[in-house]
Symmetry: C2
Subunit: 222 residues, 2 copies
C-alpha cells in the first residue's frame, strides 16, 4: 500500500483476489514480528496478503530506514529484481499469505491468467509508487499524515455513520519512516489533528476520523 491521492485511489484499488490454482501453494501464516523475507534473499515466491498487514523496509548502511510500503489484503509483495528481494518484509499482525511461484510471474509457467494478473499487479505497483514520490518529495508533514489517514480510511476504515475509524497496526516510527518524517513530527501532527477536532485518538492504534472532508482537504494542501 502506497499513499496515493485518495480520489485517484479508488481506480487503483480494484485488485480482485487472484484465483488460487497454483500447485504447491499452501497458505502461509506469520505471527507479528516474524519476517517473510530479507533484502538480498533469493526470490522463490511472491505473496498475496490474504489477511493481516506486512511492512516492507529498506535500510541505509548508517541505519536510516525507509518503509517502502505496507502490505494489506489484496496486495502482492515480493516482486523480484534480478531474482532477489530488495526489501525486508515483516508481519505487523497475524498475517496469512497466498504464495505464488516466481516462475508464474516470470515465465507464465502453465498459468497464463495468473501470469497476467501478477504482471498487472506489478504495473499498478509502479503507478502507485509514482504517486508516493509526489508525497515524499512535495508534501508537508500535515499533508503527508492526512493523506496517509485518508488512504487507510478508504481502504480499511470502518464506517461509523458520520465518522470513520481506522486501525493502525504499525508504530509511529513505521509511519514516520514511511512518510519521510521523524516519530516526533508524526506524533505532533496527530496531536494537532486531534486538537482541531478532525480526528480523535481512541487509543494508540485506533484513530477516529471525525471530519473526513476536512482531512481530505488537508491531504490536498487546502
Amino acid at each position: 500500500m502506497y499513499v496515493t491521492n485518495p480520489s485517484e485511489f479508488a481506480a487503483e484499488a480494484s485488485f480482485a483476489p487472484l484465483h488460487i490454482s497454483c500447485p504447491h501453494s499452501v497458505e502461509t501464516q506469520l505471527k507479528p514480528g516474524a519476517y517473510l523475507f530479507y533484502e538480498g534473499d533469493e526470490v522463490e515466491w511472491l505473496y498475496q496478503v490474504t489477511s493481516g498487514v506486512v511492512r516492507l523496509t529498506r535500510l541505509l548502511s548508517d541505519g536510516r530506514r525507509q518503509v517502502i510500503a505496507f502490505g494489506y489484503p489484496g496486495d502482492i509483495v515480493g516482486f523480484p529484481a534480478d531474482g532477489l528481494h530488495h526489501t525486508d518484509c515483516e508481519a505487523l499482525t497475524e498475517t496469512r499469505l497466498q504464495p505464488f511461484r516466481r516462475s508464474i510471474l516470470e515465465t507464465g509457467d502453465g498459468d497464463p491468467k495468473m501470469h497476467r494478473d501478477l504482471l498487472q499487479a506489478a504495473l499498478r505497483e509502479i503507478s502507485a509508487m509514482q504517486d508516493h514520490f509526489m508525497m515524499l518529495g512535495r508534501k508537508s508533514a500535515n499533508e503527508k499524515l492526512a493523506s496517509f489517514l485518508c488512504v487507510l480510511a478508504e481502504r480499511v476504515g470502518k464506517d461509523l455513520g458520520s465518522s470513520r475509524s481506522v486501525t493502525l497496526p504499525m508504530s509511529r516510527s513505521d509511519i514516520a519512516d514511511f512518510l519521510g518524517l521523524t516519530t516526533e513530527t508524526v506524533s505532533r501532527t496527530f496531536t494537532q489533528l486531534r486538537k482541531s477536532k478532525i480526528i480523535a485518538i481512541e487509543n494508540i492504534h485506533t484513530i477516529i476520523i471525525q471530519r473526513p472532508t476536512a482531512l481530505l482537504g488537508l491531504s490536498k494542501g487546502e
Copy 2:
C-alpha cells in the same frame, strides 16, 4: 533513470538493448520540448530510449510537480497501469526511441523473449524506484545532489583521466523537482560543491567532477 546508491547501480545498469523484431516498430524521433505522451493518455506503445534524454513528470492540481524519472538510452518508458499513462513524457534533447506494442508486454503476443525482457525491465523499475524512495524520504540536499551526480557520472559521464565530465540536459528546476528540492537549493548546493573543489561548473549544462571519491562519500552522508 532513478537515483540509486551508485555502488548498487552497476548491478541494475546491465540492461541489454532489446532485440528489435517487432512489427510496425519504426524508430520514433522527438525534438527537444516535444511530448511523447501525457498523463491520462491511453497506452499503445512502450518505448526504449535509443539516444537522447526524456523526462517523466507528474503534476499536483496546485502546480507542484514531481519529476518521476529521466529516461536515458536503454531505459524503458511508458509502462501502463490500467491501460493509461500516469506521467507526462517530454524530450529534453533530440531523442530517438524504439517503440514496442503494449500487447507485447501484457500478453506476450508472439514474442516471448521480448515479453520477458519488458517484464524484467518493469521489475527492475520497481526496485530502482524503491531506492529513490530512500533518497526522497531520508537524504539531505547535499546527499541528494551528490547521489544524482554520481549516478549520472557512472552512467553517462565521460572519463577525463582523474576527473569526469557530466552533461546535464535538464534545467535546475527539473533537478529540483526530481530530488524534492527547490531550484534555489539545487543552485546553492552546486555552488557549495564548486567552492569545496569537488566539482567545477564548466557551463550550466556541463559539470566536471574533480574529486569523484569525495562526491561518492557525500552521496552516502560521510
